[in-house]
């Protein structure tokens, strides 16, 4: 940088344009192009962040670890009991596809929700904590535009995380155990391709459930600049919900709990598929998403960004 020899700027230079027209209006196509650019940038930030990569590694490691444990210490068929993870444990040795299902089932209780808590907590609160929120808003990224981008990023993350667990489980299952026609929970056996299609539906169902949790996280995230507070709050909510869901005395509130329908995906492993359970679950997720999405939208527009 060479020192400019210019003296003080004079008082009233012409052409510094407060009267210039504002930025050019963009066509809808132009807006979409620019938004896609922001979205890609958002995904890069989240998916290339070292800490999130470590989280993905943990998610991928879980099915691998489960597979190895079950290979070394194979439980007999039918072991583990009639419901819960036991439904799957007993079948893993006969069909590797069940390793994928078992991994989703096990991780859905804590690790997958935790990963969503981390990403949604970071989404706004994390940016506020770093100070990058003010940088983005003064660009200006647009408050609502940024929030919508953040939520779609969370949705992509939820799908990626669920798919990562399922695919790693499937690959590990194929490596360690036989793969073949899938015996469903209802006792019928369907061709492998049918079983894989059901697995894909389960991934989608779980991802939608996690996205609803992501909306809750996003809303909390707009109230603080401490991402860790959001993560803790989400974990407390998930834990409390799961505990209440296990207490039969409060059965009347069970359908309203955020986690109640998370494991309902086993409906997809029956013939015929008990669709009402699935629709109830998806409706619950949708309601949670709408309520907390609205809270987040309201809050982001009103908030004073002080950090």
């Amino acid at each position: 940088m060479s020192t400019a020899s210019t003296a003080q700027a004079s008082t009233a230079q012409a052409g510094t344009g407060p009267v210039q027209p504002a930025s050019p209006m963009l066509t809808p196509a132009g807006q979409l192009t620019h938004w896609l650019r922001l979205f890609r940038s958002e995904l890069r930030i989240v998916f290339l962040r070292p800490r999130n990569l470590a989280m993905f590694a943990v998610l991928a490691a879980a099915p691998i670890f489960l597979g190895i444990v079950l290979k070394i210490n194979t439980p007999p068929a039918g072991a583990g009991g009639p419901s819960g993870p036991g439904e799957f444990i007993g079948q893993v040795a006969e069909n590797g596809v069940f390793l994928s299902l078992l991994a989703i089932f096990v991780l859905m209780t804590l690790v997958l929700p935790l990963s969503v808590a981390v990403v949604s907590g970071d989404s706004v609160a994390g940016e506020a904590g770093l100070g990058t929120l003010r940088t983005l808003l003064t660009v200006p990224a647009g408050r609502v535009r940024l929030l919508v981008t953040k939520y779609l990023m969370i949705v992509v993350f939820c799908f990626t995380a669920s798919a990562l667990v399922a695919v790693t489980g499937l690959v590990m299952g194929a490596l360690l155990f036989p793969i073949g026609p899938v015996t469903l929970l209802s006792g019928a056996t369907v061709p492998l391709i049918d079983g894989l299609a059901r697995l894909a539906m389960i991934v989608v169902y779980v991802a939608v459930g996690l996205s609803a949790l992501g909306a809750l996280g996003l809303a909390l995230s707009t109230f603080t600049q401490h991402a860790i507070a959001v993560m803790a709050a989400i974990l407390v909510i998930v834990m409390a919900s799961e505990i209440l869901d296990a207490i039969s005395q409060v059965a009347s509130i069970h359908p309203y709990l955020p986690t109640h329908f998370w494991l309902t995906f086993d409906a997809l492993l029956r013939t015929p598929i008990t669709w009402p359970d699935i629709w109830h679950g998806l409706a619950s997720f949708a309601i949670y998403t709408v309520i907390f999405g609205a809270i987040a939208l309201t809050r982001i527009q009103r908030a004073n960004v002080t950090c």
Partner: protein, 330 residues
Amino acid sequence: MTLIDPTPARPAGLNRAQIDPDLAIATVGLSMRFRGGQLAVDNIDLAVPPGSVYGFLGPNGSGKTTTIRMLLGLMHPTDGTFRLLGAEAGDGLDRVLPRVGALVEGPAFYPFLSGRENLARCDAADQTADLNTTAARIDKALDQVGLLAAADKRYRVYSLGMKQRLGIAAGLLRPRDLMILDEPTNGLDPQGTREIRSLIKQIAADGTTVFVSSHLLAEVEQICSHVGVMSTGKLVFQGTMSELRSRGEPRILIRTVEVELAAKQLTRLGLADVTAEDETVSARLGEHKPEVINAELVAADIPVSGLETVRPSLEDLFVQLTGEGFNVNG
């Protein structure tokens, strides 16, 4: 003692319709009351002419950053209004913000990204950026602040000066009509401060209006054409640099061994605000003539070993305006 008249009150009845739309920044009665009841910004009327380099001065905590946050739409004023580049506060702000480069309360970037990636991130958020020239614009901005060589290092390892310069580079990603720089020299060593100053000069030389805040007058006085001085949320002075200089009233300084006699004599002559120290007596000069005072002193048999008139330094004026801080006078 008072060196400066209090800021004249805002003419009654001034409302948003009367804000001069040609000003780069114009505020009327802008106020921010925090939830705790504290009035962080108290009814300020800024007038930043286009093309000026406006030094926004005041001690830490005097409301500068809060004002800047309101101007950029980060915070919503609890009272008053403003125009930025002619656009009214509120929804219209997003239309003009692309023409405003901003650095608020120090640079804020992602530590795990490089300088170049961080600028790409800022540019990606810009809804009206020219997509065909992104790489070239980023390189140009990095070059302008002298960070091209360190462009691919992670922000985490940047020195404080490099971080500040990257913050300014983000403001230079596209041609701007206004740059708002909040404490760009905060925490920098003298060398870094000089670099930032010369950078601001370059930006201003291109015709960009620069609004730069600082808690140190000395850091910006060389580059500013205008100043506004904040003290506990109020704008206590606003005007050109030369207006600020001329506001300081000259004082007469007399060196003598007969301090008490000299002081009495000055009081008798009608000088105000007479103070006596070891071997120096000083007083506000007002309309009096130094040579007359000298003659009077000599006539009264007071040995005068030195006599001079001094204007208070800008630093003195600044301290006068903003208060002394903690027990400066002991």
